[in-house]
Symmetry: C2
């Protein structure tokens, strides 16, 4: 085990065919740009196809509904993370939140995530699809907490699901409900508080 | 000062004229019902007027935009709280989150809050209006934290804004992002964690 690698990387989903991947990445970039410019309400498949330079059927083949497409776009910007074992819960938590902060602060991501939340509450939405996306996003937080419990620097009585919710909710609430971009100061404060909340007292 | 009163009440905004208040309450109830049934995307002023039994101009006079109306509806269900001084930060935090839990679990509130977040990210939204609403919602959490600092059972170095964000984000994230209704178990876990995060060690 090495602690040399401290970058939290976005997980690769495997290579796929390069041409498909180029198409997917052009389409998802078009979604992010269009939502950043005009909001999710005005997003149409036609506009995405035009911006990405692909056909509408090509988009529908891969993402049958607008919700599928929007969740895929969100996941391309705020997706699964992998934080290596740094031998210390607090350091791993900081790593995780710093990577998340970088993703949240990228242009258009605030509008995109707000749109995903709003559209999951619409009549035709499949709500479980968004819940499943969230579970993938918060998975690494749970793994980091469980590793801390095994290691002994996280309290063994920690409610891992609740702690992951606490961690994940803070930056998102600041951005989407308080309408203020989260910053390093918030990450520092959350790391301090969560480390006291679930850390073993030294 | 008495600790007898342990109910956290929704703040009254003053009486107003009874007829106006009856109209307002019928309109806001109609909004909540319609959003619960069909989502915010399909909400129209005409449908609200018909359901509430009032004229569209009467609605527009009081709430000039759909966003104003939707925020008012959200605030009528999840608004300011007042938690009395219970002499103990942890007890006050539990009081506050228990009251919030009751509000969140009311029918239609999940869809309404998700819709408010989504619509704040649309092109025509006045984003500051939603941020101002959130500031009213989280105000009592900040007051409870500050009272704890004055009393001496909350750490004097607490970042009050960040702690309020941490508290507020947890239940909302569980509901809107994890798509799971928050429950007493989550409140208990959050109270435990936040009390350790910002409480003075005993």
């Amino acid at each position: 085990m090495t602690n040399r690698h401290t970058g939290a990387d976005v997980e690769s989903k495997g290579p796929g065919r390069p041409r498909d991947e180029r198409m997917a990445s052009a389409v998802l970039a078009a979604v992010v740009e269009l939502v950043a410019e005009r909001g999710l309400g005005e997003l149409t498949m036609a506009a995405v196809a035009a911006r990405a330079g692909v056909s509408k059927p090509a988009i529908y083949r891969r993402w049958p509904t607008k919700q599928d497409l929007v969740i895929a776009a969100a996941e391309s910007r705020v997706g699964s993370l992998t934080v290596p074992d740094l031998g210390d819960f607090r350091a791993e938590l900081r790593e995780l939140l710093t990577a998340r902060l970088r993703q949240y602060r990228a242009p258009g991501v605030d509008r995109l995530l707000a749109g995903v939340i709003g559209s999951a509450a619409e009549a035709d939405a499949e709500r479980s699809a968004y819940g499943a996306y969230t579970a993938r996003v918060t998975g690494e937080t749970r793994r980091v907490l469980e590793r801390g419990i095994s290691r002994g620097d996280v309290r063994p009585d920690t409610d891992v699901a609740a702690a992951a919710t606490l961690v994940a909710g803070s930056l998102l609430f600041r951005m989407l409900a308080e309408q203020d971009l989260p910053d390093v100061g918030l990450v520092d404060a959350v790391v301090d508080m969560v480390a006291r909340a679930v850390g073993v007292r030294d």
